[in-house]
């Protein structure tokens, strides 16, 4: 049930901001500070989420096969690999390290 609540709240919220962009008169959100903040918020959230999902096990910090997988993804990104290759590299390397007993 909790999951359905979360899905419902997220769906409504995400739809509302999409619609707001189309309906709101241009001046209201075009202030430079608001634009800068809207561009930087995803940066902060994505960085924190990346770090947590790589190094967190519940509420403790660990260094395991996922870190190696993420490093592979970072290398793939630097080589300008397409999205699916980046994700595939992370998955394959993580599985490989685990298979080797890492």
């Amino acid at each position: 049930m909790n999951i359905w609540i979360a899905i419902g709240v997220t769906a409504l919220g995400c739809y509302a901001v999409k619609l707001a962009g189309l309906l709101v008169p241009a001046g209201a959100l075009e202030r430079p500070l608001v634009r800068r903040l809207a561009a930087l918020l995803p940066v902060a959230l994505l960085a924190a989420l990346t770090a947590q999902q790589t190094f967190a096990d519940g509420r403790t910090l660990v260094l395991d096969a996922r870190a190696v997988g993420l490093a592979a993804a970072a290398v793939a990104l630097m080589l300008r690999a397409p999205f699916l290759v980046v994700v595939g590299a992370a998955v394959a390397v993580t599985a490989g390290v685990r298979a080797l007993g890492g």
Binding site: N2, I3, I5, A6, I7, V9, T10, A11, G13, C14, Y15, V17, K18, L19, A20, G21, L22, L23, V24, A26, L29, E30, R35, L37, A38, A39, L40, L41, P42, V43, A44, L45, L46, A47, A48, L49, T50, A51, Q52, Q53, T54, F55, A56, G58, R59, L61, A65, R66, G69, L70, L77, V87, A89, A90, V91, A92, V93, T94, A95, R98
Partner: protein
């Protein structure tokens, strides 16, 4: 996809994809729920990731000039990809076609792959052994990398990583990510302040670290 490995049912996974339809928010919600976060902190993180779509909508509404009656239907497709394609078109007509084609094909493909991924994950069983728990952070990293254009973005990202990891052991699940979001206004505020003090109030800036340092030396 990864959500099936995080305790969501097939129906929940597909509903999330159909209703939310903005990738980063979906992954964030799933990740926060998997970590044991409450539905509301999880939804808040996902919501903040979706806020950028409002700014795509702003640009698109001028470009596409859609009739008011159509806007509620078009809104669901206002995402990174449709904005990128539409804004790159030279004319209003081609922008509208670009928006429609990109929106429709992505919506169908995205939800089909979600269904297949969820079915596949159910069939695999132990998703961790296949390294699928690394897919989530890799997706975030791939979304994040093109955003790190200047020092400001990198500073925000670095601060957010420190906050997100540092607060993880002490705050309830899902909350550290929301606190990490404050890295964005904090860096903007610090930059605005530096610019402000640079103009004439340099004295206050040089005093500040000294004042902050004294109590530490006393200890």
């Amino acid at each position: 996809m990864t959500s099936a490995g995080s305790g969501l049912t097939l129906l929940q996974t597909c509903a999330l994809s159909l209703l939310v339809f903005t990738g980063a928010s979906q992954f964030a919600l799933v990740g926060a729920l998997a970590a044991g976060g409450s539905p509301f902190t999880a939804a808040a993180g996902a919501f903040f990731l979706g806020v950028r779509n409002a700014f795509y909508g702003l640009r698109l509404s001028q470009l596409l000039a859609l009739p008011r009656a159509v806007r509620p239907f078009a809104a669901q497709w206002v995402i990174d990809e449709t904005a990128a394609v539409s804004l790159a078109q030279p004319t209003r007509r081609s922008a509208r076609i670009g928006f429609l084609v990109t929106g429709l094909s992505l919506y169908v493909l995205w939800n089909l792959t979600t269904l297949l991924g969820a079915l596949g994950a159910e069939a695999i069983g132990d998703t961790d052994a296949w390294g699928l728990d690394a897919a989530g952070p890799a997706v975030f990293l791939a979304l994040l990398a093109p955003m790190l254009r200047t020092g400001t973005e990198r500073l925000v990202a670095g601060l957010a990583v420190l906050l997100g990891l540092g607060l993880l052991p002490v705050l309830p699940a899902g909350v550290p990510v929301l606190v990490a979001a404050f890295a964005a206004p904090a860096v903007l505020w610090a930059q605005g302040r530096r610019r402000g003090t640079g103009r004439g109030d340099a004295k206050e800036r040089s005093d500040a670290p000294a004042r902050g340092g004294i109590p530490e030396e006393d200890r």
